[in-house]
Amino acid sequence: MNDQPRFAALVAPMLILLGLVYLVPLFGVLLISVTEPQPGLGNYANVLQSPAIGRVALTTARICGITTILSVVIGYVLAYAYVSASAGMRRMMMLFILVPLWTSVLIRTFAWLMILGDNGPVNGVVQSMGFDRLAMMHNELGVVIGMTHYLVPYAMLTILAGMAGIDERLTMASRGLGAGPVMTFLKVYFPLTLPGVFAGTVLVLVLALGFYVTPIILGGGRVVMMGEYISTQILLISRWGIGSVLATLLMLVVLLTIAAAARAVDLRRIFTV
């Protein structure tokens, strides 16, 4: 605790840099949202009343919700498999987790386009079994698959950090006190992983809200999420006012999510332990 002023001094250059390259432009966006095309809160009123924007917001919320749940569940299972695996197996697993993480999101999304496309391998198998083609592209399913694939490593690594710190004697103690493997998981192991799960959920949700490339490519224009909508407003039809209002609101949602998370659990504990 006494070290806090010194830590503050250490991070000061970082804060200044962030302020210059981040907060100043952000403030610019905020300014545009109340000045373009005329000064006032007209843009905000328009946005809140527009049914089209309402639909986009709903789509965004739905996809982000589903994606976050899927990523965290899959990430949890992977992290659990990882901590239970042998050392050699662990190296393999980590490689398979990290390689996609290092690959450009664009490449990964196009790869999914191939896999999920009408003539892709998945549909090949489906058809060879005598079923109709599945529509997995240019719809929400495709977007959810692509985004989940991207976000699972983030969820897994965050949850893993928590799991790795759990003393194995705690699960042994639980067994010794009469709890079978299932009860031990439910009553001891799972509760101890919750801070990590929570941190992973927040991280994945925040990342999902800002997704842009994946929905464009896999959604093929039929699934419009907020990121794409904002970019269309600004880059294609030059409605800077509306675009920056939406950007501001998206930012606000992200901040509120983090703030709510901070209230629910001690974030400092999650990120320092």
């Binding site: 103690a173 067994r175 010794g176 009469g178």
Partner: protein
């Protein structure tokens, strides 16, 4: 808290009326029987063909140096480590294939392993809730066992907010709350400072007496083993070297290792010159002395003499009697409170004498010519290993 401590210090918690220790001892039935247990890790042998009978109600301590296989043996008893070979009988039934949760043994881990997400109360309630006991029963049992370990005031605390000694008490409460027939303890006092250890040793002993439960304890602290246990199992390199009551092991060690590991010992060598009445006769300082203990081979005998049995004389003792007197001179004197430790260089080798400070008319000084005297009955032959 204060009142509770006084009670513990003042008189034992277990009053004679509920003291079931009477059923303990040599004649108590065997509760847990370890038969030819072996544990190998690859080519390394952690536990090497151990046979051990734990009697009902006793406090048995496994004592040995680091790496002697104590924890491994305890983990096999608890069911966390599967033996490579051998059987384990509990009340006559083989428990070796059972997982830990089916054995119903209480266990106190090294480092306590309290659940950090549960309060003291919930930690102690854990085994009861797992056994689906009704709420009121849980509450009543938890509070009474917390009272037993003097932690009733801390029921709502989280484990993180407890001192080491308090955590140890909670871990103990959690392990006994479901009335297990056997309580296994791995270095229960290992992480505590000396003073706390001493007081908790007494508490542990009192608790054992009061509950009448069988305790199997692991330690590498010989003082702890001797002061708490009904019987001590001395282990070395995966094997048992001696089993017995602490006083018996201390006064009649079978091997040189045991003589040195339990307390301090002077080891001397002397030629064997015969035997009489089941005792070896040795020649030392020109006298023929019959000594008890190992009787194996002729040749050279390895002898153990406890430092407290050695007295210091400043004049040559007039022969006769069955005392042994070794002439020598004092090399060094260390004051250790109640005792002086006197290093004497004698004709038969270096000897340490422990003399009560209060009984010394004259304090020996380095260079003094002295005679180290001890009774022949205090000389004990051990196997040199």
């Amino acid at each position: 808290m204060k009142a509770a401590r006084v009670e513990v210090g003042g008189k034992p918690v277990g009053t004679p009326a509920n003291d079931r220790s009477g059923s303990r001892g040599v004649n108590a039935p065997v509760l847990l029987s370890v038969r030819n247990i072996v544990k190998r890790y690859g080519s390394a042998v952690a536990v090497d063909d151990i046979c051990l009978d734990v009697r009902e109600g006793e406090l048995l301590t496994m004592l040995g140096p680091s790496g002697s296989g104590k924890t491994t043996l305890l983990m096999m008893l608890a069911g966390f480590v599967a033996p490579t070979q051998g059987e384990m009988l509990f009340e006559g039934a083989n428990v070796a294939p059972l997982p830990p949760e089916k054995r119903n043994f209480g266990m106190v881990f090294q480092g306590y392993a309290l659940f950090p997400h549960l309060s003291v109360f919930d930690n102690v309630a854990f085994p009861l809730r797992i056994r689906r006991q009704p709420k009121e029963v849980v509450r009543e049992k938890v509070l009474s066992v917390l009272k037993l370990v003097h932690m009733e005031a801390y029921a709502e605390r989280m484990p993180k907010a407890l001192s080491g000694g308090q955590q140890q008490r909670v871990a103990l409460a959690r392990a006994i709350v479901f009335d297990p027939k056997v309580l296994l303890l791995d270095e229960p006092l290992g992480a505590l400072d000396r003073q706390l250890r001493a007081s908790l040793q007494d508490e542990l002993k009192a608790l054992h007496r009061r509950l009448g439960t069988t305790f199997v304890c692991v330690t590498h602290d010989q003082e702890e083993a001797m002061s708490m246990s009904d019987r001590v199992v001395v282990m070395r390199e995966g094997r048992i070297v001696q089993i017995g009551e602490p006083a018996a092991i201390y006064s009649r060690p079978q091997t040189r290792f045991v003589a040195n590991f339990l307390g301090e010992s002077n080891i001397l060598h002397a030629p064997v010159v015969g035997s009489e009445g089941g005792k070896t006769v040795i020649r030392i300082a020109g006298c023929r002395v019959p000594v008890g203990g190992a009787t194996n081979a002729a040749g050279e005998a390895c002898l153990s003499i406890r430092p407290e049995h050695v007295a210091i004389e400043y004049t040559a003792p007039n022969g006769g009697t069955d005392d042994i007197a070794l002439e020598g001179h004092v090399r060094d004197v260390t004051f250790v409170g109640a005792d002086y430790r006197v290093h004497i260089e004698t004709e038969a080798g270096p000897i340490i004498a422990r003399c009560r400070t209060s009984e010394q008319a004259r304090i020996p000084a380095p260079g003094d010519q002295v005679w180290a005297r001890c009774r022949a009955s205090a000389v004990w032959r051990v196997i040199s290993d």
